[in-house]
């Protein structure tokens, strides 16, 4: 026993000594490498998509730096510490959403921002993207799995409040992402298949109900345009026709960096934000998009490995949900730009211009790193 213990101790010492700087900083090398790859590629595409704007490039790089810092800071926090503070964070987040609803500032016709001039300006809905899955994970981690009906109902209520508040802003894209992030926790926690299928079956009547009572006119228009973009080629169908033309005209190898005509001649709307994948498709072709998808796939794969290897149930549920939500970003964005899905305002992770989403995403990966690097070796024996 003693000898065994000694050996274990000594082997742990060896590991500690071997532990690289990264591990001591609680940073996952594989995730970091993939994220840097993505960010570098993203800046390349953004330079072209923004019409060679150094200004935007620098801003994006700075945002990436801020995001990396946030990621590293969050990676230092122990998952247990997070779990302790999650309920409070959830309440604060919901409170801020209510504040936004009541007195938020207008930006692009939608009320999404909290703005204290000179101090801070941020979207509470972004904050909720991490707090939401964490809250459900915290709640379910204390229950027996698979969750029982009562726990599911409470979980859904916890998801529902911010979902409705964000939907009212109105921000369909973000609210659906928040809903998904909560739902993924339930899924990973082993929500029974028959209930999943039942929910899927309920989607149709719910969708019909949403159409008549919830969706705003512009949101309905987006869906109609998605179903038949040619019906209004100069109005709402313009975006999708032009983005498909941009991607399609790229062919297998693309037109070459900075040579995409659709984006450089301004035929492609929102080319540096939500529709940036069209620029990538046009300039780098099928090969370029597939490479990007491969990097995303590796990131998601690493995330799922973190999920499986996580020691606490809270960690497993949170890591799994964050990873799956990340995938939803990628799928919804590319699906929308390529005309598979209706137009929903979801940016392409790490490529689209925009500091807020960059910081949120990197924070999420910070949580993943924290879960992965704060594992206790002894406890596993």
């Amino acid at each position: 026993m003693n000898g065994n213990f000694d050996r274990t101790l000594s082997s742990e010492d060896v590991m500690r000594r071997r532990a690289s700087l990264l591990q001591r900083m609680h940073i996952d090398g594989q995730l970091l490498l993939l994220l840097l790859l993505l960010a570098a590629g993203g800046l390349f595409v953004l330079y072209s998509a923004s019409g060679k704007s150094w200004d935007m490039l620098i801003k994006q790089a700075v945002s990436f730096g801020v995001g990396l810092t946030a990621m590293i800071v969050i990676a230092q926090l122990e998952p247990r510490f997070m779990a302790r503070w999650v309920p409070l964070a959830y309440l604060v987040g919901v409170g801020l959403l209510v504040v936004v609803d009541v007195m938020g500032h207008d930006a692009k016709g939608a009320t999404r921002w909290i703005n204290i001039p000179g101090v801070i300006r941020f979207q509470p809905s972004e904050f909720m993207k991490i707090i939401m899955p964490a809250t459900i994970a915290w709640y379910l981690a204390k229950r027996n799995l698979p969750p029982r009906l009562k726990h599911i109902a409470i979980s859904l209520a916890l998801i529902g409040v911010p979902f409705v508040l964000i939907l009212k802003q109105p921000d369909l894209g973000t609210s659906l992402l928040i809903l998904a992030s909560g739902a993924f926790v339930l899924f990973i926690a082993g929500l029974r298949w028959r209930w999943i299928l039942g929910a899927a079956a309920a989607v149709v009547p719910i969708a019909v109900g949403m159409w008549f009572f919830v969706l705003k006119q512009y949101q309905k228009q987006r869906v109609l345009t998605f179903l038949d973009p040619e019906s209004d080629p100069l109005g709402t169908g313009w975006n999708i026709i032009q983005s498909k033309a941009a991607i399609g005209s790229g062919g297998v190898f693309g037109k070459g960096w900075l040579l995409g005509t659709q984006s450089h001649l301004d035929f492609l709307p929102e080319s540096h934000t939500d529709f940036i994948i069209a620029v990538l498709g046009e300039e780098f072709g099928l090969v370029g998009v597939c490479l990007l998808l491969l990097i995303y796939l590796l990131l998601i794969g690493r995330g799922l490995v973190v999920t499986v290897q996580a020691q606490t149930l809270f960690g497993k549920l949170l890591a799994g949900s964050l990873t799956m939500t990340f995938f939803v970003y990628v799928f919804v964005n590319i699906g929308m730009v390529s005309g598979l899905l209706p137009v929903v305002g979801v940016p392409l992770p790490f490529i689209s211009y925009g500091g807020t989403s960059l910081v949120t995403l990197l924070s999420g990966f910070g949580v993943l790193m924290s879960i992965h690097t704060h594992r206790k070796w002894i406890a596993q024996v």
Binding site: F187, Q262, F267, G281, L286, V289, G320, F327
Partner: protein
């Protein structure tokens, strides 16, 4: 019953999570593959379609208007050219607050609120995004300078240059060359939309209108890359336009000026033709107007002034003015009488001062109330004896008279290339029946014999009839174009020459005409006396107000505008004619006294050198037989 306490089973939880992660991974891979499939569909299967779509987005075809052909007089003096004209354009997208920019323009150029309202109207007219809207045309140097100085206050404002038609000779050729103007809506419907896609102006009258197809040229193209807002970024491919063909006219600027000077400010028309070629050497309709006014759009005030002027400057008297030819028709009637055999050169008629049809009371008066006594054909022309021609016309009858005079071009278009030439009128029995539902009266034939009655001719027709006398019946349609890019115009519909039974018949009539100026009792002998060469001519008077039977024409009682028009036709030198001239002086009253000196001045300008001598190329020895005949 207490519920069994469920203990947390970490192993079971981990297994559950692992299975769900695997399920999730399967879904992720499946959906990523779906995306790849979608991209493959767009980028490989539909590549052609989207490639075309994106190319069509980017590439636009823009027309380049051709440069309009130049017009020269016969000596190469420019009559119509193209000059850069500057217009002020505003691009709304770049102007920011464009209404304020308009205010600054009005302030800088010291314009009126009316101009401001016009600018605003032009700005609001339909256009593509980023298209510059022209708000002010024909900028002066001063205005361009003012705009340049204030450029910093005028975002989106540009001075743009374009080629605009210009007529350096101004009034001189307004009635022959005409002018171009902006294409109006009616014309737009008829024009080839491709050919005129870049052109804003089209020939409206005269040569500009008649030779529009040759002068316009062929449109060119530019394939340009544009962005989504229609702004041109660069030129990808260019097909140059073919410029319009240059046109050399038969007109002679110096002769034109001389003819205008000869009219001396009076209203009237002058046409000078070179008989051997049909070249129109001068074509004057006075008063005239400045054609440049019409090119960029004439102002309402200017146009009203021209339109409402009592002198009718817009009225083309040469081509549209219809006058009874009066006595100027007598030489042609004489030729007809000889050829028809109703008179011989020796036939004599006694003139008591009037003519009466058998069984009619009505007296057809000679202008000379006292009568000329016995007159033959040559004397009748020299004296312009009405009685002789009443008799001749009566013997010929309307049908033969109509046929012969029609062959001289009366009552039909004679020119080869003049726009909107009037046909005039050569009456006949059929015409009168159709027009008035009346039979032809013998008395109407009589007055046709002296060029009065229904007959109406343009100065151009009179000039052509004169040229036919000079040419002994050889028909060449009078024309304004000498060559189009070196090629003379072709007559697709030539008139048959007038061939007489005996070519000498021409000489009898021509001798009569020569005696008008050079005979002892010729009506225009005063003019003939001062000439250094021989002129054959004939005077005429076109009545403006009919005189009642038994009433005498008293000029003191007649208002100036109701006075007769003075006519004179002639050619010179009489033996080998180099120039045929017809002159009409509105309300000039006396053909011999007023119109004949104009004719002579025009001939002098053409035939004489600076020393007042016949130019050597025109001085040919006269054939002996003509000399013999003269005595």
């Amino acid at each position: 019953m207490p519920q069994p306490i469920r203990l947390k089973d970490h192993e079971k939880d981990a297994r559950l999570v692992r299975s769900r992660v695997i399920a999730g991974a399967v879904v992720v891979v499946a959906l990523i593959l779906a995306l790849v499939a979608r991209l493959y569909y767009l980028q490989v299967i539909q590549y052609e379609y989207h490639s075309t779509l994106s190319e069509n987005n980017r590439v636009h075809v823009q027309p380049i208007p051709p440069t309009r052909g130049l017009i020269f007089d016969r000596n190469g003096v420019i009559i119509a050219d193209n000059r850069p004209s500057f217009s002020l354009t505003v691009t709304r997208e770049r102007a920011g607050d464009w209404e304020q920019v308009l205010d600054i323009i009005v302030e800088v150029l010291e314009l009126t609120p009316d101009d401001r309202a016009l600018f605003e109207k032009r700005m609001k007219q339909g256009r593509r995004p980023f298209e510059p809207v022209p708000v002010l045309f024909e900028l002066s140097e001063d205005q361009i300078a003012r705009i340049a100085v204030n450029q910093f206050r005028l975002p989106g404002v540009e001075v743009a240059a374009q080629l605009v038609r210009h007529y350096p000779q101004k009034e001189h050729f307004a009635h022959s060359v005409g002018y171009v103007g902006r294409i109006n809506e009616q014309e737009l419907k008829k024009l080839d939309p491709v050919d005129y896609s870049g052109t804003h102006h089209i020939g409206k009258t005269g040569i500009e209108r008649f030779y529009e197809d040759q002068l316009h040229g062929q449109v060119g193209y530019e394939e340009v890359e544009t962005n989504a807002r229609g702004r041109v970024l660069r030129v990808l491919k260019r097909t140059d336009p073919t410029p319009g063909k240059d046109l050399t006219l038969t007109l002679d600027l110096k002769l034109q000026e001389a003819a205008e000077a000869a009219l001396g400010g009076r209203r009237g028309a002058v046409v000078a033709i070179e008989p051997a070629t049909g070249d129109v050497l001068a074509m004057v309709s006075q008063p005239s107007f400045n054609p440049n006014l019409f090119v960029t759009g004439i102002s309402f005030k200017d146009y009203a002034e021209l339109r409402d002027s009592i002198d009718r400057p817009l009225y083309n008297r040469v081509l549209r003015g219809l006058y009874p030819p009066g006595s100027t028709i007598k030489p042609m009637v004489a030729v007809a009488g000889l050829d028809a055999g109703v008179v011989t050169p020796a036939t004599r008629v006694f003139d008591p001062g009037f003519y009466q049809l058998p069984n009619y009371d009505h007296k057809y008066r000679n202008w000379n109330r006292s009568g000329d006594g016995w007159v033959n054909l040559e004397m009748a022309i020299m004296r312009s004896n009405d009685t002789y021609f009443y008799d001749l016309a009566h013997k010929m009858g309307i049908d033969r008279l109509h046929d012969y005079l029609s062959r001289f071009g009366i009552g039909q278009r004679v020119s080869l290339d003049m726009f909107e030439e009037a046909e005039g009128l050569m009456p006949s029995r059929d015409w009168k029946r159709a027009r008035y539902r009346q039979a032809w009266y013998p008395g109407e034939t009589l007055i046709l014999g002296i060029g009065q009655g229904y007959m109406q001719a343009t100065p151009l027709q009179l000039a052509q009839a004169t040229a036919l006398m000079a040419n002994r019946g050889k028909w060449i349609r009078p024309h304004l174009a000498k060559s189009i890019e070196g090629k003379p115009p072709v007559d697709e519909n030539p008139m048959p020459d007038i061939v007489l039974r005996d070519p000498k018949f021409w000489d009898y009539a021509r001798n009569g005409m020569e005696m008008v100026l050079h005979g002892p009792r010729g009506t225009a002998r005063k003019v003939g006396d001062s000439a250094v060469y021989r002129i054959a001519g004939k005077s005429g008077t076109a009545q403006v107000v009919a005189i009642k039977q038994g009433e005498k024409y008293d000029r003191s009682k007649v208002q100036e505008r109701h006075r007769d028009h003075a006519l004179f036709i002639g050619f010179a030198p009489a033996e080998n004619p180099e120039i045929a001239v017809a002159v009409m002086v509105e309300n000039g009253e006396s053909g011999s006294g007023v119109a004949a000196p104009v004719v002579k001045q025009v001939m002098d300008a053409w035939l004489l050198d600076e020393n007042g001598q016949l130019k050597p190329e025109f001085a040919e020895p006269r054939p002996a037989e003509v000399l013999a005949h003269e005595r």
